[in-house]
């Protein structure tokens, strides 16, 4: 009986003594941490995707607390609402930044861009790109091995078996930029999501001269410059036989889509075209288009031309 009592007393004494030592040690070696870091981290989505440019949400929280001006910092996953919350914790005024989304700038589907050879090496776009120009006549386009899909941590991309191209699922895309980094051919781009997710972009990165580009892919940008002339806002530039639409200047009037002879300019999430131009502020000032042609019609017409050319 005595042994048990002594044991219990001894253990309690050791416990109390250790607790006292630990208390003083903890006081002595205390590291002050801004409590706001925890608060901010709480608000962040905990995706740890690195889309903000920091290794994880915790590091981003630390950086946010440390920074004097957080206007240039953005959590692509949480977007404006999360940044607003962060701002209220840290006492900063937050201007809502426009949400962006990844777009695939290649429309070289199996139909549009016939294969010229077969690749059977390691299934990695980076390896294929380091070896050769790819399995089609276009050396700039999508290699179709899905490295972007592998890089996406949010399940926001998949490879379309029929087209052989990656597809971005808009609702899931948090615009972290992992796919942009992964693509060796720089096909993916983060672009402004646009009102009602409406976007216009040149879905091609081919810098070859028109004839060569057109031969490789029926929907390639041939650098004809029609869109540049047509654009009333000067949003389109032409460099190295390739048009590029500046999304900050673009007013989504869709005139370029109509004039593009190869259908290289893509429009997303627009309502079907009516006889009259859509009720956009830009379109109001524009002259009515004589004969609006839907994009699908353009490309199918091209396909017909292509087949007759081949014959």
């Amino acid at each position: 009986m005595d042994t048990i009592v002594i044991t219990i007393i001894a253990l309690c004494a050791i416990g109390v003594a250790s607790a006292i030592i630990l208390y003083f040690v903890a006081q002595k070696f205390k590291v002050y941490e801004d409590p706001r870091i925890d608060e901010v981290e709480e608000v962040l989505p905990a995706a740890n995707c690195g889309g903000c440019g920091y290794p994880g949400c915790r590091s981003f929280a630390e950086a946010l607390v440390k920074a004097d001006d957080i206007s240039s910092m953005n959590c692509p996953v949480g977007g404006a609402p999360v940044m607003a919350k962060v701002g209220s914790i840290l006492g900063h005024e937050i201007k809502a930044s426009d949400p962006t989304v990844a777009v695939v700038r290649c429309n070289g589907t199996c139909d549009n861009r016939p294969k010229t050879n077969t690749y059977d090496g390691a299934a990695s776009c980076t390896i294929a790109a380091s070896l050769y120009s790819g399995d089609t006549g276009c050396q700039y386009g999508c290699l179709g091995l899905g490295e972007c899909v592998d890089a996406c941590k949010f399940d926001a991309m998949y490879m379309d078996k029929e087209t052989g191209l990656p597809v971005v699922i808009e609702d899931k895309c948090v615009s972290c930029g992992a796919c942009v980094e992964a693509c060796p051919n720089n096909i993916l781009e983060l672009r402004k999501k646009g009102p009602k997710s409406r976007r216009i972009f040149v879905s091609c990165v081919n810098k070859d001269k028109g004839g060569i580009a057109r031969k490789a892919c029926s929907t390639a940008c041939i650098g004809c410059g029609k869109c540049v002339k047509e654009c009333p806002f000067g949003a389109i530039t032409l460099e190295n036989n390739l048009a590029y639409i500046d999304y900050n200047k673009c007013k989504l009037c869709r005139k370029c889509v109509i004039v593009c002879p190869t259908g290289a300019i893509q429009e997303l999430n627009f309502p079907p075209r009516k006889e009259k131009p859509v009720d956009k502020p830009a379109a109001a000032t524009a002259k009515p288009v004589a004969k609006p042609v839907a994009k699908t019609a353009v490309s199918s017409e091209n396909k017909e031309n292509e087949t007759t050319d081949n014959k």
Partner: protein, 442 residues
Amino acid sequence: MLKTFSIGGIHPEGNKLSAKSAIQELPIPKIATIPIAQHIGAPAKAIVKKGDEVKVGQLIAKASGFVSANIHSSVSGTVFKIDDVMDATGFRRTAIIIKVDGDEWLETIDRSKDLVTEITQTKEEIIKNIGEAGIVGLGGATFPAHVKLSLPPGKVADVLIINAVECEPYLTSDHRVMLEKADEIMVGIQILMKAIDVKRAIIGIESNKPDAIAHMTQISSKYPGIEICPLKTQYPQGGEKQLIAATIKREIPSGALPIEVGAVVQNVGSAFAVYEAIQKNKPLFERVATVTGKSLKNPSNWKFRVGTPVNDIIEASGGLPEDTAKIIAGGPMMGKALVSVDVPLTKGSSGLLLLAEEETARKDIKACIRCGKCVSVCPMGLEPYLLMVLAEKKNYERLESDSVMDCIECGSCSFTCPANRPLLDYIRLGKGKVGQILRARK
């Protein structure tokens, strides 16, 4: 016991189908497409323009840096245009396209077949003229020869090693050149010896070419200082480091060049090109290549003009067999598959290999079974299975510390892997990335 390197190595099937076929001259093409980048280093700068008349051997593009090489016209005719054309990898690169008209050579080129043995030029003149002639390593790596011969200050060479190993299966061009041009090669070697100031040259030849060994041994007796070293048939015997280890038993430290151990290595084809450049004043615009494959009608060795389309040389060898699935430029181990038969042959084209589907198709990739075969065959003593995983996981620091830069990309690991893992593909990728990081650090 034949000499060989100490670790690793594999024994692929030799398949030297064209070994008995004498070198033939390929007809001059109608249009020659001469790329301005046919060597490692900076592309040459075109010095002709559209409409210019050129003669065979005329300089048409000038070296644009220390590591770069001159390009000469291989045909006579008119410059049709200078444009971007598809190269062997499918990318568009600048080339000079010449419409051929007759075959008019520059008068300065000695076209006689007489052997000129007397070497009149000085050491400096030789190196300069080798550079002028645009000679590059003809083994396939196409490193400018004059750069290799200009020894860095403070370094002294004591031996010249001639790479006549031809360890790649199928290829026989060096073999045939040795049988048919042995004397010229010997003079070429003596010129090279004079250029780097050595008294001793060793020609390494694999034992699967007994006729070449016998012939070269007989001829070399006339030329002092040249020895023939028969080597075991083992891939990659022709790797620079392996060849030095096999012939003179010296090991090059990691990251160093052969000159560190006093050796300079040149290809046997380059020795012949040096002979022609120095003794005959003929720049490098034609070379010998093997066209081979099991289904090909006449596997043969052709002397072709640079810029000839691949298609021409295949047609001359009996046409493209129907079962061809892959055309490889170079040998089966290190060669690269072509994307089209319209691309031009270059200074680096040592062979064309036509493979059928069943010979070339990659098998399903399975998980690594940790058998360690890749480690035992690696001639550089690396751990390919580990390097592959590190490259896949983008762990570049560990790739660097595990000596990925020592990889010679011989492909022995991929060849031997029972799980068909694409070891070299990933290691090469990792090596490229680590190389970039190292360059950025400088």
